[in-house]
């Protein structure tokens, strides 16, 4: 968890907003640092986290998590973290018997996939089992990332339906939160990616968009982060501008944010 990002978003592990969908988007750069931030943030906030990790292995997230002060292994052992390792289980889907439903079962289907088994997995992971689950705060679903599903042959509408059902269950029934990462390829011909990104943007309450600098690679400024609050809120003084833009630099254990043009290397 990056304290500077918490300040920008006006959140802290003690006061977690519930019932929100946060969309992480990256364009021209790697936005996975945001995923690591939210993973460690919600684990520190004592929430139950279901992490659908399709891009990297468990050990990768564990190593980065340890730098940020959380141990995924112990979180998984005590039941706070439910981890779906996409890379490993996709092999299981191909090799196991067909009758058993599997969250990634759409990989076996010939036609356009249906993500209902994945939704059932998330629902079972996050629904409280009455006897022991009072310890955790609100449930959280974290997905890294949704664009991989497009590459695996699932249609954009199917992914939108999956997120719709997750929202109905996790955000509304269970008063939890969802954080999902989507890539913006910037390719005008990739209509599915555009439909997915725009459809999710319209459903989300907060959009964090990490962009590469227009001028190219820079050693001191790794990119630009644009924060857009979409939840309709009354114009009170407490809620600041609807949209903020900052530049950032990723260091070994933290990320520093500064106003545009105000990088310490430049001043």
């Amino acid at each position: 968890m990056f304290p500077e990002l918490n300040n920008l978003l006006n959140t802290s592990p003690d006061s977690v907003e519930q019932g929100t969908l946060t969309l992480l988007c990256d364009a021209g750069t790697d936005g996975s640092f945001l995923v690591h931030h939210f993973l460690s943030f919600y684990l520190k906030a004592n929430c139950k986290v279901c992490f659908v990790a399709l891009v990297q292995s468990f050990s990768h997230y564990n190593v980065v998590g340890q730098k940020l002060g959380v141990s995924l292994t112990s979180a998984r052992e005590r039941g706070q973290l439910v981890f779906l390792e996409g890379l490993k289980s996709s092999v299981d889907v191909v090799l196991r018997a067909e009758a058993e439903p599997h969250p990634l079962g759409f990989l076996r289907e010939a036609g356009a996939g249906n993500l209902q088994p994945l939704y059932e997995f998330v629902r079972e992971a996050l629904e409280p089992v009455d006897c022991r689950e009072a310890a955790w705060r609100s449930p959280v679903l974290l997905v890294d990332d949704l664009s991989v599903l497009l590459g695996l042959g699932v249609g954009a509408v199917a992914v939108l339906d999956f997120i719709h059902y997750c929202r109905a269950t996790v955000c509304c029934s269970l008063q939890g939160s969802i954080v999902a990462l989507v890539h913006d390829s910037g390719d005008a011909e990739d209509e599915e990616s555009d439909v997915l990104l725009n459809g999710l943007s319209h459903q989300s309450h907060l959009i964090l968009r990490a962009e590469g600098l227009a001028t190219g690679f820079c050693r001191d400024v790794h990119g630009q982060l644009r924060i857009l609050w979409r939840r309709p809120s009354p114009p009170t003084a407490a809620r600041r501008d609807r949209s903020l833009t900052f530049q950032y630099k990723i260091q070994d254990k933290s990320v520093s944010f500064f106003a545009r043009g105000m990088s310490p290397a430049v001043l």
Binding site: G19, Q116, Y119, V157, L160, D161, H164, Y165, A168, C171, C172, S173, D194, V195, N198, G199, S201, H202, I207, L228, R230, P232, P234, P235, D241, R242, S243
Partner: protein
Amino acid sequence: MNSPPLSLGAGQQVMTPSKGVGERKIRRLEMLESVLALGGLVLLRDSVEWEGRSLLKALIKKSALRLVYHDLFRDPLNWSKTGEALPGGPLGVLRAMCSRTGPGPVTIALDSLSWLLLHLPCTTVCQTLHALSHQDSRPGDSSPVEHVHVLGLLHGELHGPGPMGTLSALARTEVTLSGTRSQASAHILYRRPQQRPTHETHWFSILSDFGVDLQGVSPLKSQPHPDPLTPPVDPTTHLTFNLHLSKKEKEAKDSLTLPFQFSSEKQQALLCRGLGQATSHIFYEPDAYDDLDQEDPDDDLDI
């Protein structure tokens, strides 16, 4: 507001006309009333930057006295298979609404049309919307004005120009949401029958009780106000070099003929050749090996 977003397809049946609203300021209601005045399909087009759901809720609050709520949010595709889902899904619900024949004006709000367009073919959606918004045109009906409002929320970036244009053509009133940095605006296009379309732009904000606070109207222009923070700047002032021409320089510039411009003098010169003009002439000195035979210059006739 902490409740979940409005689900798909909230149908409302209003038992009495919504005129008995009370003594509010007329200015506050003007925008909402004018949007609802025409009846038929009202299209609310929003974008990621400027969301339209709160305006939809404000319109619903304005127009409805009795609310019937169809919850299609939790299980629109019948994944839970508990039997609670409404039969036929969203399309079935809409078609059932088409055949309802109660008295009094009716307002049907759809959140959102984009969901319908993504899951159903565009033609089906358009036909259903047309049937919904034209329920009142039955021959032999004694009351000529029976307002059916269909309020649809449409997300601008999700659809191509084809579906957007089709829904736009179906709509009587079209509200496009945009704004400058801090102020939202609604650009309203009215298509009154047998009249020219008219535009209006309202600057507004939605309050916490879903009332609308109007900040200004510009009925004549169809573009929003220019940003008052940036006055127009004349770039030719404060320069170290001269960009302007004096009178003499202007005259010289105007009287200049360009070298390749086809003027009448040039035309005359080309037509009247031969008056002392040298025509082109080729001078050729044949080599020793050249055989200049006029009848066989290439030397390939086998005679």
